[in-house]
């Protein structure tokens, strides 16, 4: 990945330098090519992203039987829409209701359901989000502009093993006649991580 576009580039952080060193070593040893890394980043930045998850959510909102299948076996229901791939072998969909709000974190690193949400945002990978979301989720959510009433249970999902999580947000009120496609256009990445409510 090149970043020589700036005349006065920001100094690299330790993590960036470490990633750079690893990338150079892997390239030097012929394990991966620089083009391969660029290609993966480009594919996930442009072709695979939250629009996939939005399609899944909109389908679940308009089709109660699909929603049942999604909650029973997320991976299979998502595959019905032709969506799958790395970091998506086992996807669990968790449903928001008037009584329950779900939010996803990976305290150990940055596990994330790539096929439905693309690559994780920077804040998702940041140590403060990862450490605080399990310890004081209601406070962190409020800081992120997502106020969850005290009587609503917050379920935090730490994807520390093989499962990857997709939050199924509540369908916004007053959208009864709205088409599936129009609904999908309203679904944001953050509502599917659980740090925003539609």
């Amino acid at each position: 990945m090149s970043d020589d576009h700036a005349h006065h580039p920001e100094p690299l952080t330790d993590v960036e330098r470490r990633a750079r060193a690893l990338e150079e070593l892997l390239t030097e040893k012929g394990i991966v090519s620089a083009e391969f890394i660029d290609q993966v980043v480009e594919t996930y930045a442009q072709d695979i992203g939250p629009m996939n998850g939005a399609k899944v959510v909109a389908r679940a909102w308009v089709d109660p039987e699909y929603k049942q299948r999604l909650l029973a076996d997320g991976t299979a229901a998502i595959a019905e829409l032709g969506i799958g791939g790395p970091e998506g072998d086992y996807i669990v969909a968790v449903e928001n209701t008037p009584d329950v709000h779900n939010v996803v974190v990976c305290t150990l690193c940055s596990c994330y359901p790539w096929p439905v949400l693309g690559l994780p945002p920077t804040w998702y990978k940041s140590p403060p989000y990862r450490s605080r979301m399990v310890r004081e989720p209601r406070t962190v959510l409020a800081e992120m502009g997502c106020d969850v009433p005290d009587d609503v249970e917050i379920r935090v999902w730490d994807s520390s093993a093989e499962m990857r999580y997709l939050v199924l947000p509540e369908r916004p009120p007053g959208t009864d006649g709205v088409s599936e496609e129009a609904l999908a256009a309203t679904v944001t990445r953050d509502t599917m991580i659980g740090v925003a409510r539609p």
Binding site: Y90, E136, P137, I154, R155, V156, W157, D158, S160
Partner: protein, 115 residues
């Protein structure tokens, strides 16, 4: 520029990695109360520190997957069942816990014991 070690010196001998035989049949079922073993492994692990020694309830039985410690340090894929385990916030954080905010953590069977 300050320097950083690309990787830390190994603190784990191959013999330290539990040589458990592969297991695919889950030992626990949904609803079982389990405790996370208070292990402090000197290398790569997928057991978050904040659940060690804590009691939780099995909420989901998931796939069998390679034990991370063995895969990282012995380069072998030894299967172990995995689970979604629900912890009450008070069990994890005592008085500092927020109300009504349980945490689900995904754990390999080797990390768990009956409670």
């Amino acid at each position: 520029m300050s320097s950083f070690p690309l990787s830390r010196p190994p603190t784990v001998d191959a013999v330290d990695v539990d040589a458990a035989p592969p297991r695919e049949k889950p030992r626990f079922a949904v609803g079982d109360v389990v405790r996370v073993r208070d292990l402090h492994f000197g290398g790569h692990s997928r057991c978050p520190r904040y659940v060690r020694g804590r009691r939780g309830v099995v909420a989901r039985v998931d796939v069998a997957a390679p034990i991370p410690e063995v895969e990282a340090h012995r380069r072998e894929r030894v299967l172990d069942p995995t689970y979604g385990v629900r912890f009450d916030a008070a069990e994890l954080w005592s008085d500092a816990a927020e109300a009504n905010a349980p945490v689900h953590v995904d754990l390999y069977e080797q990390y768990l014991e009956p409670a």
